[in-house]
């Protein structure tokens, strides 16, 4: 670091920080879905990355169909995001119905079964869209960048993703803590048998929760298309990071998930500048694992007598 002046360092931090924002957004959206599903039914969804890819391909399809219409190119994202959510939601719903519900309380087994599902989905993508990565034309208004000073350059699409992420996070918070449905979800999490006894259809709650988590992954996919191109195995690159975000945040804590996604994304982004991406990744993962060993309950733990 000695070769940089303090002003340069500041600029580097600011820029890498904003570069990390896109990564943070995708990670957070992925982790939100995963955390909801894990918190609710102790199911580890190894195919979560593939649900993100569903959203990404859905966005891609929207961009080529709506983008072809005159004047729609700039606005297709507004259609694509709900479609990305919807398609991942529907697939998630079906998967819950066909597979996941048979595996409650066998967390290690869901891990394997959903890995199988991930393989099938990856091959499905490959058959449908080809092995080559596809990329989406970014609308004109997202292409520019914001330059507060000579040295800092913040891409607009990063800001847009961040706004989207914040909205979704707020939506999730509202859904979980302010809506009737969220109350049912929290009841089922706290005490499944009792919830069933007071007339909550816990199976339906599970199904909706799982589908919702997948749907959010779909939105992550839509955000993903603006920073990277999409391939059949794009999702699997994110899955390990996402798991660590959930675990590191303290499973079941919304604030913890946000904080952990932010710190992991920023740490990686900052170190990347100095160490290169592979060493940055190694160091980030090792640090997270190290902290997890000291605090296995994660950043924010829910203290319950067990």
């Amino acid at each position: 670091m000695s070769g940089f002046s303090s002003q340069e360092l500041l600029a580097i931090f600011a820029m890498q920080g904003f570069a990390g924002v896109s990564f943070f957004s995708v990670l957070l959206l992925m982790a939100l879905g995963l955390a909801i599903i894990y918190g609710q039914m102790r199911v580890i969804n190894m195919a979560h990355g593939e649900f993100m890819v569903i959203g990404a391909y859905a966005t891609y399809l929207c961009s080529i169909t709506f983008g072809a219409l005159p004047g729609m190119m700039d606005y297709y994202l507004f259609i694509a995001i709900p479609i990305a959510f919807g398609s991942a939601f529907i697939v998630g719903y079906i998967v819950e119905l066909a597979l996941i519900r048979h595996l409650y309380h066998r967390p290690l087994d869901t891990l394997l079964a959903t890995w199988g599902l991930a393989l099938i989905m990856q091959q499905g993508f490959r058959s449908a869209f080809g092995a080559r990565e596809v990329s989406v034309a970014v609308p004109g208004w997202l292409r520019g960048s914001y330059r507060p000073t000579m040295m800092i350059d913040i891409p607009l699409n990063g800001i847009a993703i961040l706004v989207l992420t914040l909205l979704v996070t707020l939506g999730v918070w509202w859904f979980l803590y302010r809506s009737r449905w969220g109350l049912r979800v929290r009841c089922t999490t706290a005490n499944r048998d009792m919830s069933g006894a007071v007339g909550i259809n816990t199976k339906r709650v599970d199904r909706i929760t799982f589908a919702l988590g997948c749907g959010i992954a779909g939105i992550a996919g839509a955000a993903f298309t603006t920073i990277s191109s999409t391939g059949p195995t794009s999702g699997s690159l994110y899955i390990v990071d996402t798991f660590l975000v959930v675990v590191f945040g303290g499973a079941g804590s919304l604030v913890g998930t946000i904080a952990s996604a932010f710190s992991i994304a920023q740490a990686q982004s900052l170190m990347e500048f100095f160490l290169g991406s592979s060493m940055a990744k190694v160091l980030t993962l090792l640090t997270v694992i190290g902290i997890l060993l000291i605090r296995p309950e994660g950043l924010i733990a829910s203290k319950v007598r067990r």
Partner: protein
């Protein structure tokens, strides 16, 4: 009459009867060499090195309830240790004379290293290499296990963290090209102390060595499971707290089985390098690590020999399908994961347990009759289980 008794005992034993291990030994040492040409046999030998890892997983996942998604780490450590030795031997100053620094592995020269890095130096010696193969995987597992189990990290968290560690190791190896050979791995391995490991006779020999080592590891696993430790392990999987409050340091019991699994996997890795002639990071990361799990799951997570059959069957199926219909294979293996978990949680071994065992009941009956006649009292049998 003692011979009859001991023969009877051979087919007894709740975890991995000696009979099943004997049968496997016959298949590996007699049937397969007769059936296959050297090319196929070498391929089988390669798959059998995966069986070491699957066996380790049967022990620590099946019996101990500890699912590791990072067993590729230990396979890789064993494999790389052996590969480093072979690479140094292959890089003698004469055959590398065109390099700017002769006498060091080619990839180091390409990355402008001028001398062997310190951690390569011990691999000049075969003795140290063998020690490394036997000790390093278990030592590394001890570190991971100690850190995790003493902190009571288990279940899903353990699985995820071991997976992350596998990712870390892969990234490190790929990133540090000059020290590790990078993504291509360590290739062009030819001789072991001047003995060409690529010719047919060497391949036969290595195949048999591999099979013998595998049988040896099976016997170790069987012994461990059949003593009190094995029952504590099963107890642990069921009610960890009860075991802890019965006076056991639970973490130590988990660390041991995890280390044993790593030890066995490391041997497999070394044998892989010897039989295939290279080692690369593609046998360490997420995908191979979880494939090892599926071998154990298909064979039967509670069957010692099951892991071996699982590794052989799945790998051969993969070779056959992937050649003919590569797309279909992905769908198929994905479906296998799902079916095994949903329908056959105890794998093929449970199918055998349900139907196949009948084939052997006449033999067993005959033995037990002899046993009953010889000891005079059949009641004593159950009382004095050894």
């Amino acid at each position: 009459m003692n011979i009859m008794n001991s023969l009877y005992r051979l087919f007894q034993g709740r975890h991995g009867s000696l009979g099943s291990i004997l049968l496997l030994a016959i298949i590996l040492m007699v049937v397969m060499p007769m059936m296959f040409d050297i090319y196929r046999l070498n391929l089988a030998g390669r798959y059998l090195t995966y069986a070491f890892v699957a066996l380790g997983l049967v022990l620590c996942w099946g019996y101990g309830g500890i699912l590791s998604l990072g067993q590729g780490i230990f396979f890789g450590i064993g494999g790389y240790a052996m590969a480093m030795f072979l690479k140094i031997e292959a890089s003698d100053p004469v055959s590398t004379s065109i390099q700017s620094t002769p006498g060091i592995p080619d990839f180091m020269d390409w990355n402008r290293l001028t001398e062997l890095p310190w951690f390569w130096v011990p691999f000049n010696s075969l003795t140290l290499t063998i020690i490394a193969v036997l000790v390093l995987p278990a030592a590394f597992a001890y570190l991971i296990g100690f850190a995790m189990f003493k902190r009571r990290v288990s279940g899903v968290y353990f699985a995820i963290i071991t997976q992350a560690l596998a990712v870390v190791l892969t990234i490190l190896i790929i990133g540090q090209q000059g020290y590790t050979g990078g993504i291509n791995g360590i290739t062009d391995l030819r001789t072991l102390h001047g003995w060409d490991i690529r010719d047919d006779s060497a391949r036969y020999l290595l195949y048999y060595l591999n099979a013998i080592l595998l049988i040896g590891c099976l016997l170790i696993g069987r012994w461990v499971l059949n003593c009190k430790y094995g029952r504590i392990l099963s107890a642990l999987r069921d009610k960890e707290d009860r075991v802890r409050f019965s006076g056991y340091d639970v973490a130590n019991f988990k660390i041991f089985i995890f280390c044993l699994a790593a030890f066995i996997s490391g041997i497999g890795g070394a044998m892989f390098t010897l039989q295939v002639g290279f080692m690369s990071p593609s046998f360490i990361g997420i995908v191979p690590s979880i494939e090892f799990v599926i071998f154990a799951a298909v064979g039967g997570r509670l069957s010692l020999v099951g892991g071996v059959y699982g590794a052989l069957i799945v790998s051969f199926a993969k070779t056959m399908f992937a050649e003919a219909y590569p797309q279909l294979w992905q769908f198929l293996i994905g479906a296998v994961f799902i079916v095994v978990v949903l329908v056959l949680p105890y794998g093929l071994a449970s199918v055998y347990g349900r139907y196949g065992r009948r084939l052997f009941t006449p033999v067993k009956d005959w033995f037990s009759k002899r046993k009953a006649n010889s000891s005079g009292a059949s009641a004593g049998l159950k009382e004095k289980r050894s």
